[in-house]
Amino acid sequence: MFDKEKYAEYLGMCLESCALELGMDNFDLNSVTIDDFIDKVNEVYHPASKYVKNKPNLDERPTQEILLRKFIISKIINNFYFYRLYSQ
């Protein structure tokens, strides 16, 4: 049977690990708002959204590393949504 507490605990660990990588000081998973969290993630990962949004020409297409980061951002934000859903 689905155990929402255990899943939330795992998501919390993923997000704490991500916050550490992002250099987010005094990160408190339970007090930060989703909006603030997304803003912070986008701020740190800015090159990823910037490159894709500006639609540069083919020679200036983002590298694999940047595209991978963008891909990972979506998962981090998904994780945060599910964390909030299941830690209620």
Binding site: F2, K6, M13, I38, L58, S74, N78, Y81, F82, L85
Partner: protein
Amino acid sequence: MTADSEQVKWRAPSWGDVCKAQIKLSKSKLVSISNTEKSISQNKEIVDYEESLGMIRSVKIVGAGINALTFPELMGNRNEMVIAGVNSHALMSEMISLLKKPQRTLIHIGVINDSNFYNSYIGNKIYIVNNYYLDRLENFYDKEETEFEVVDILDLNTGKIPQNLDMIYTLPIELLTALNKNLLEDLIDALAPHGCMIIASSSDGQSLYADQELNIATAKQIESNPMQVLHNRLNNIENISYFHILTFGGLTVVIKNGI
């Protein structure tokens, strides 16, 4: 009559055209109008439930593409391309599962939301990872109570993976962003000889094939796509064969070689 007018005007079919034809030309237990209608209604329930808990579903939060959060809404709103894509994927998974007849299956993330699939095709022992998919399966998709054993997601990420599996269903995003950076390799280790792993949605919404913004396909485009990272990692694993199958969302099938 000029040479130009004699040329045959050929239009490549759209993915939607291909998927619809694929479904029409197949006989499947899983993909039918009634199952699709059931799935649409179940996915609507998920959105309603999450909203009832006060979850905000703005584009900023849930994203604009197809992901775990947007999927229920897109299905619930009858997005034709998403429905065609889901059904196209379900057909391939059903075919592979029917051929394989797995007896020990791990569902990391399931992309088939139908209890008939679990009860009819994937055999005696089913493990399901404790994550949002299990929640949706139990509370929205599978009210017919398929029997399974739950695997804790932290256990899965710390090496406690059921062994000798002959089928694993998963998604690239779960493999590339797991707490355990070697989860892909560890899961393949857990496969029995001739065991099979189905990695659904492995084209990253088709961006692996062509740039969505520039509408162009180049070697560089393919090389820089995050899905290439996944396939490169597969390429580094000995003792497997793998095949990228062209479905709407892309399907990569890994088969562990026999000993």
